[in-house]
Each structure stands twice: as structure tokens, then as C-alpha cells.
Amino acid sequence: MSDEHYLELCDNPVQFENASSVNNVFFDEANKQVFAVRSGGATGVVVKGPDDKNSVAFRMDDKGEVKCIKFSIGNKILAVQRTSKAVMFCQMNLQCVVLEVSCLCFVFRSLQTKNASVLGFCWTNWNEIVFITDQGIEFYQVFPDKRSVKLLKSQSINVNWYQYCPETAVILLSTTVQGNVLQPFAFRSGTMSKMSKFEIELPVVPKPAKLSLSERDIAMATIYGQLYVMYLKHHSRTANSPSAEVVLYHLPREGACKKSHVLKLNTTGKFALNIVDNLVVVHHQSSQTSLIFDIRLREPDCAVNTHQPVLPARSIHPYRIPLSGPTVVPSQPAVPCQLYSSSWSVFQPDIIISASEGYLWYLQVKLPPTVNLLQDKGKLMDFLLRRRDCKMVILSVCSQILEGGEKGSLPVVATVFDKLNQVYKEYLEAEQTYTLAMESGPSRGSAAQKRPVRTQAVIDQSDMYTHVLSAFTERKGVSHKFIIAVLMEYIRSLNQFQITVQHYLYELVIKTLVQHNLFYMLHQFLQYHVLSDSKPLVRATPQPRLSTANDEIVEVLLSKQQVLGALRFIRSVGGHDNVSARKFLDAAQQTGDQMLFYTVFRFFQQRNQRLRGNPAFNPGEHCEEHVVHFKQLFGEQALMKPATV
């Protein structure tokens, strides 16, 4: 049984001091920093970020229990909340590792609403901060030098709780008594804009009304570049919904929010959500497994926007924790880490934190195990083509389906090729548009065009050739019929997407045909221009020869030992001045026909005479052995002598 765990925790987690009675741990989603606050900061605050640059340690005075602590973007200003009424700002000088910060502090109390209690705050810039209180939202600019703040904008609204998506700088407020009317706000360099509010459909409407939408059941994340609000809709006996589902609401920058996707979980219990590589990952605690959903994957047998899990539920790959920190002796055994632990906290998009163990992991998708879990290769390709590190996996899938050689695999091969080439074509088109735009000069008005990014999903002909096709055609035990069928299928697919077929693919076809003496097939392919890139339409009469396939024709003729025919042909298309003499001489010598060799040899001598005024071959042409052979057969005197002037 091969490895089936398609999710794993990253190898290099962020380690921090685990939460305890003296050590409080905070996580800031915006900067992805973990704060370990020992004894209210008096014995030190250790900040660990995703990389060392973001890791800081400092001390501050213990002025009571810390409720929330966050750096502004770029670690410029530290905001610490100890009470529900006030937040303290400190300016940091990050040159030193350990800082006493108390001297730089000033305390800020909300001026707008005297009795409001601060639910939390979010930094939206290096000096811009949003306060969310139970009575509204306030947007400030902080001036640490002047020890002052300036109100940029505020809005009164009753708030139950809030969520912040740092990627898009959107804050979502839960309002009304039931909490199911969500009001999003978007922030961008000094401006706050109210987006259209929307209502989450609750499975049951409670009577009397009470807060029914929990903050735990809502998450925001960007999937395929679009912001979504994910709602974990638990099953309810009264509402007659047999299992839980995740409802996605698409939140566009402008316009109304729409319910867009429903992910069927087919089970009940406690869930947590992550987004990894544009996949929605749903962790299910009681079964200790996770499901993944791809909202772009269309389900044929479902209503348009209802999705089933892409793959069967599997647990995250087992993870072992080294016994004592990173500087562990290699011989020491690692302890298996308890996955899906109740002490886990899950953050968007892909973060899992175990406060009790002091680890922050990034969740990752492993693609190789998906290959065996998804039998439908077409669907598998759709899935893989949207993943980040997909190239090698896709190529291995291609090799695999060709290797199988099972009956009826050609239609599958065709589907896979078509899917690959669809993506390839889109990239080529984008590239072409870009090149055209660049050539026509920088466009006024429209924003400067960005060069299209070549993702891993772009599998071009050389990728296919090097990783799949060339090895495939050389593999023993594959029928040549199947090889040719596959190559033709690939060429068909490229043509279908109007992609110019590269020469080496034709060569592969020709080589295979010639190896099996299938000259008549070869000729038919040439006749219908399949092995050429000439005019798209065959005219009234099928043509046996094409100017663009000259080399192929020469090769074919030579391989059939029709040396004179080849020579006549290349002369007819005017290519005999540049053609390799050695190739023809070799072929002539192989026939064992002395007169033929003589003729070909003289032909090239005459050519040399005409081109260079000397019948001798250039050393670069490597015809020495032929000259020797000629002398042996016909004697020295038969050689053409340079004309004496």
C-alpha cells in the first residue's frame, strides 16, 4: 500500500515556548508572528515569524495581563491591549535584539465611544490601525513620534465579533442579534470603504432571537484570487440536513456578496478549515481525517456549485517531534505528534498551531499520493493542473498511463493531452498578446501589461518529449502500433489547439515508422501534411511532397537507399549546396553499388568545385573515409583535380 497521506505538516515549523501558566501565546495573522509573552512581558516577549527577519525578543513592563499584542506591518509599531478600554503603542527600535520598550509608550483610549469595549484591533499598514469595538469600527493613523493618533474614519454599528483577512485587508463584522448579518469593510492606504453586507442563512432561526452565528464557524480566505467567506454550516436535526457542509460566499471588491459554492462534508462533528494551494481543506476532529475540495472542479452529477470531496478522507501525514528542541542529538527518538489534537488552533490560510507543544506548522498538499487516489485521469489532470508544484507529478502521470498500456487507454491519453494543451495554449496566447503589446510600444491609458507568468502547469512539447515521449518510444515491449497511436494523438491534440508542432516530435514519429519499415504509413502522413507545418488545408489534390518537410523526405529516401532520388530531390528544392555530403556518401557506400557511390561522389566534387573552386571536401565535412574508399575503388587518378589556373 503506497503512501496515501496527501496532506502534511511542513518540515520546518516555527517553534516557540509552549503556552503555560506563566507564558501566554498570541498569534498575529497579519504578520504571521507568534508572541510568547512571559509574565506579562516582564521576563521577556519572544516574537517568532515565518523567517528569522521577523523574529524579535524584547522586554516590557508587566502592567497586567496582555489580552492582545500585534506589530504593525514591518514591525514598526507594537500595539498591546491589556484592558478592554485601552491599547498601548510602543515604537520599536529593532536594531537591538532585546529592548526596553516602556519608555516609548503612550496609551490610547477610544475617543469616539466612551463606554465601548475594544474587541480587538488590526494593523492595515505600518501606521494604520483599525479598532473594532462592540459599538463600531474606528480607523486611525498613528504618529509614534508625536505620540498621537488621528482618526481617519469611523462607523457606528453593533458588533458581536469580527474577522480579519490580512491578504485583502478586509474586516468582517458580525452584526444584529443573531449575528448572521455580516458587514465587510475594505481598507487601502488611508481609506476605509464599506462593502455590501450580506446575510448568512442559518439552519435554524432561534426563538427568541439570540446570537446564533459563532465566530468559529466563519473564516475568510482568498481562493483562486477571489475573496470568500466560508461558513461552516453544522447539521441540525430540525432543519433536516443530514450532514454538515461548508457554504462559500463570494465577496467581490464591488458588488453584492453571493452564495457561490456548497461543499458537502457528508459527516458531522467538529471541523476546522484551511486553504492550501487554492484547495479548501476541512479537518474533521473525531475521525482525525481531512477532506479537500477544489471549487473549480466541476462535478458532473451535482448541481452546478455543489462539490464533493476531491479525494477520500485521509489523515495528515504522521509527524514526529524531536524530543528536545532543534539542537537534538540525532540518536534520540522522535515522539509522534498527536494530530488533530484539541489544543490545535487553525488559522487562515494554511496555519496550524499547537500552543501546548509550541509549534506553528504550515499545512502542505503532497501531490504524488493523489495520483493513485483519483482514478478518473481526466479529473486528476484538472486537479493537478491547478496545483502549484504540479509539473513533475503531471509528467509522471503521463508516463504512467502510457506504461499501463491497458485496453482502452487511448481515449484517456487523448483527454489528458487535450487538458495539458489547453493550458499550454492559454499560456502561449497570453505570451503572444504580451509580445505584441510590447512591440507596439508602451500603451497609453491602459496599465502596463504584465508578462504572463509561466506556472508549472504549462507543460510544453519539450517537457513532454524529454520526460515522457522519448523514453516511452524506446521502452521495450510496447507495440509500435501503440507508440504511433500515442504520438499521433499528441500531434492531433496540439493541432486541435493550433499549437505549432515542434520538429522533434515529427522526428520521433518518423523514427518509429522507419524502425518498423512502415514507409507507406509515413508516406501517407506526409501526403496529408500531418508531418509538416505547412498550409493548414490540403488543396484539391493531395500532395505527395512538401517544401517544409524536405529533410524528412531526404531522410526517408536515404533510409530506403534511394540515394539518387534523395539527391535529385534536394537539388530540386535548391538545398544541395548546404546539404551534408557525408550523409549521402554514407548511404551510397552502404548500398554497395559502386557506380552509385561514384556518381554521388562526383556530384559532390562538382558541387565543391562550383562553390569553392576546389573539388576537395572541407575537413569539416568529415568525408575523409569516403575519399579513401573512392581511391580504393577507382584509383587516385579518378579523383577530380583542382583546376589549375
Binding site: 487523448a414 501503440f482 484539391a540
Partner: protein, 480 residues
């Protein structure tokens, strides 16, 4: 059974007769070398009602002629014998087996006054050795396609089996020979290819490969549209003769019921399958028929130095026909035919309409005015591709040409001239009428053009042909 048909009746008096088959026989001198046993040499004789001694005499004469001419050139004995009334063609396809065809020369019957018997004028130079020599060779190839070599029958069942097979095959086949309409195309024995764009061609490739993959019994496939070849998995020589059979015998036989009206009794019972138009042209006419026989014609194709025996399944949907060839050692069952029908039928129907659509688009692009106004025959020896705008339509009975037989004869003569030398050349002939006939030979290709231009001179004709080459054959290179 003399097949004489008056070709052209000029007035009331003159009657013209086209060439016709006088006799056709096959013999092997080694089977009756002793005197008195001569009859044993004769394996087949047409017409059969000829008196025994005459048969023996005729065979003996041929034997003698061949033997006599051998003294001049042991490797190339006589191929034909010209006499005033007829012409004889000799062909030795296998060691000691000789096929002889005797063709009566075309003639003109001129009535005489005063009740005298009419005078008959034989036109002994009107028929061409190359044309009828090719017809004779084709007879053998066709026999071989369905029966294998003579030697094979001898091995399997001796002279008795061979004579049976010959009788069975040639009795019917000779009736389909229409000697009066044989011409240059018989010399070429070419294949007409269907013009097609690359994408549609690749789709057909894909179809063929898929069928061969899922029905692994299928060894070779050929694909035709509108009686023109698109793909052949068979080798060229085998395809050439199979193509001849399909287009001159099998397809015409089946096109008549297709052309017949819906309620015509000729129309075969539709198998009740509304999903596709596929049907078997060989084998079972109706799969639903519980009595249906799943027997297909067997053909023999070349394989290295031996022969391979195959079932020939011809399956057609609209104008697209696919030939599937399966080793004869396998017995074909109802299940297999049903599987083939359900797999191929829908795909072939779809493909046929695709091809039709694409063909119409291409024709629209090239425009109706670009339709060739020239009368020409093109043939490529390398891929056997032929194209003729002279021949209107090939049917089972006659191939109609749109030009006078005299012109066809000139074409044949030019072809003979080309065959004599290996060089590329061009021949321009001014015919008796206003026609010019131009023959061009370039490497492996031959092109014959008939131009009808009054008062044109040689230079103008030459220019005109150049123009034709540039427009119609711009991708084919002709050496000047």
C-alpha cells in the same frame, strides 16, 4: 457469349464495334507434357462451350509463341500477339502458370449494296498493349486477393481445387470486365485520395487507433470517404487491389440500394438503430436477424515472403467506410459484430458528418470558380495517387469519360513513350481535332492535360499548362 456493343452508329449504314473479350484461359504446360494429355494443361477456359480440341489448339498456340519468343530473350518472352482480328495477351504470374486473354479488335462494319455481306474493317492499332496487359495483371491480382496464389490452391487440394477456385472466381469476374472502357487509369491502377485538412485527418487517425486498440482483433484498418482513400494500414500493393475491389465492385453494389427511395424494395431493412447510420457492407445485413450469418469474405495480403489470410469487414456510415481486417484464424461471432457495431457506428457517423462539413467549408474557400476547367489525369507512382477530371463517375458497369476515345488513346500512347525511358520529359501533341494533349513526366509523377483551344500555338499551350501546374498542383514539384 460475344459481348458486342455498337459504340457509335453513323447514319444507318456504318456500325462500329468496341473491343471485346474473345476468350480467357489459364494453363500450366507442366501438367500435361505428354501427347494426348494436353487437356490436363488447361485449368480454366472461357468461354466454356468451346470445343475441346479448339481449346487445346489455342493453348498449344500460345505455348508455342511463348516458347518461340523465349529463344530471343529467355527472361522476357512475348507479352502480346497482334493479329488482324484480335490481340492476345500472355502473362505468367507464377512459375509455369499462364493466363491468356484474347481481345477482339474494334471494328467497323460497312454495309455493302446489292445485298452483299457487309465488309468488316478491323482497327488493329486502336488498342493498347499497356492497357490490356494491365487489365490482365489486375485479373490475377484480384484472384490472388480473394484466393491466394495458384500455388497455394495446388498445395491445399491439387489441380482439382485450383480449377474449382478458378472456375468459381473467374466465371463471375469476367462478366464484370468492361474491355471497351479500359484506358490509361487501368495502366496506373491508382488510388484516388480524398482531399482533407490536417485536423480532420488527425481525427480519423485517432478514430482508427482507438478502434484498433479496443478491438484488438483488428490487425489493419483502411478508411475511405466518398469512395476515396484516406487511410490505409495495409501495404500499398495490397491496398491498391483492395481499393479496386471496393470502388468498382463492393461500393457500387451497395450504393444502388442507398440511392433507391425509402420505400423501394431494394432498400435494406434498417436495423432499427436510430443512434447511428452504421451498417455492415460485408457480413450480416441485419444484426438483429437471428438467422444472420457472421461470415465475411476472406482476403490474402502480402506479409514478408508469405501470405496472410484475413477476414474483410467493411462497415459504412453515410459516405465514410472503414475496412477492418482480422486474422482469418479467428472465428467472428455475433458478439464481436455487435461490439463493433456499437463502438464504430456512432463514432463513424459523427466522423462522416465532420468530414462532410469540413469538405464543404474547404470547397467554399477555394470557390466554385476554381473548380478545374481543365481535363487532366494525374498519377504519382510513389503513392499511387491518381486524380482524373476526365472520368465522370465510376460505376459497376461503365466508367464514363468525358472525352473522345481517340484522345484517350493519345494519352495511352504518351504514357507508353514515358515508360520507355527513365528521364523526365514532356510531350505535346496536337490532335486531329482542335485539341492539344500535353503529357508531363517528372520523376515519379505523370500529368496529362487535354486542352481545347482553337488556333492556339505551341507556346500558348505550354504557358497554359504551366499555369495549370501553378494553380492546381502548386505544392507538387515538376521539373522543368
Amino acid at each position: 457469349m460475344l459481348m458486342i456493343s455498337p459504340r457509335m452508329a453513323t447514319g444507318m449504314q456504318e456500325k462500329q464495334y468496341t473491343p471485346s473479350l474473345l476468350s480467357f484461359f489459364i494453363y500450366n504446360p507442366s501438367f500435361g507434357p505428354r501427347e494426348g494429355e494436353e487437356e490436363k494443361k488447361i485449368l480454366f477456359y472461357h468461354p466454356c462451350d468451346v470445343e475441346k480440341n479448339e481449346k487445346i489448339r489455342n493453348v498449344g498456340l500460345c505455348e508455342a509463341i511463348v516458347q518461340f519468343t523465349r529463344t530471343f530473350c529467355p527472361t522476357k518472352p512475348a507479352k502480346s500477339l497482334h493479329t488482324q482480328k484480335n490481340r492476345q495477351f500472355f502473362f505468367e504470374p507464377e512459375d509455369n502458370f499462364w493466363i491468356v486473354m484474347v481481345v477482339r479488335n474494334p471494328m467497323i462494319e460497312k454495309p455493302n449494296k446489292d445485298g452483299k455481306p457487309p465488309t468488316i474493317e478491323y482497327q488493329e492499332e486502336e488498342i493498347l498493349d499497356t492497357v490490356y496487359g494491365a487489365v490482365l495483371r489486375q485479373c490475377y491480382s484480384m484472384y490472388k486477393l480473394f484466393n491466394g496464389t495458384f500455388g497455394r490452391a495446388m498445395e491445399a487440394g491439387g489441380v482439382e481445387l485450383l480449377t474449382q477456385k478458378l472456375e468459381k472466381f473467374f466465371y463471375r469476374y469476367l462478366q464484370t470486365l468492361h474491355l471497351q472502357s479500359c484506358d490509361l487509369l487501368d495502366v496506373f491502377g491508382g488510388i484516388s485520395f480524398f482531399p482533407l485538412d490536417k485536423m480532420t485527418y488527425l481525427k480519423i487517425q485517432s478514430f482508427v487507433n482507438r478502434v484498433e486498440e479496443s478491438l484488438s482483433l483488428v490487425k489493419y484498418t483502411a478508411f475511405l470517404y466518398n469512395d476515396q482513400l484516406i487511410w490505409s494500414g495495409l501495404e500499398q500493393d495490397d491496398m491498391r487491389i483492395l481499393y479496386k475491389y471496393l470502388t468498382t465492385s463492393l461500393f457500387p453494389r451497395h450504393s444502388e440500394p442507398e440511392l433507391a427511395g425509402r420505400d423501394s424494395p431494394l432498400r435494406p431493412e434498417v436495423a432499427g438503430n436510430l443512434l447511428h447510420y452504421g451498417r455492415f457492407l460485408t457480413g450480416p445485413a441485419n444484426l438483429k436477424d437471428p438467422e444472420a450469418k457472421f461470415r465475411f469474405p476472406k482476403i490474402f495480403v502480402n506479409k514478408e515472403d508469405s501470405y496472410e489470410e484475413l477476414h474483410l469487414i467493411v462497415y459504412k456510415a453515410m459516405s465514410a467506410a472503414a475496412c477492418f481486417m482480422i486474422s482469418a484464424s479467428v472465428e467472428l461471432t455475433r458478439e464481436f459484430c455487435e461490439q463493433l457495431d456499437s463502438l464504430v457506428g456512432p463514432q463513424l457517423t459523427l466522423l462522416a458528418s465532420d468530414i462532410c462539413e469540413q469538405f464543404n467549408i474547404n470547397r467554399r474557400i477555394s470557390g466554385p470558380d476554381k473548380e478545374p476547367q481543365f481535363k487532366f489525369i494525374y498519377f504519382n507512382h510513389m503513392n499511387l495517387a491518381e486524380k482524373s477530371t476526365i472520368h465522370m463517375r465510376k460505376t459497376a458497369s461503365v466508367s464514363l469519360t468525358s472525352v473522345h476515345p481517340d484522345l484517350m488513346k493519345i494519352l495511352g500512347d504518351i504514357n507508353c513513350d514515358f515508360a520507355r525511358v527513365d528521364e523526365d520529359e514532356e510531350i505535346i501533341v496536337k490532335a486531329m481535332t482542335d485539341y492539344w494533349v500535353v503529357g508531363k513526366k517528372s520523376d515519379q509523377r505523370e500529368l496529362y492535360v487535354i486542352l481545347n483551344q482553337k488556333n492556339a500555338n505551341l507556346i500558348e499551350v505550354n504557358e497554359e499548362v504551366k499555369r495549370l501546374c501553378a494553380t492546381q498542383f502548386n505544392n507538387i514539384f515538376f521539373l522543368d
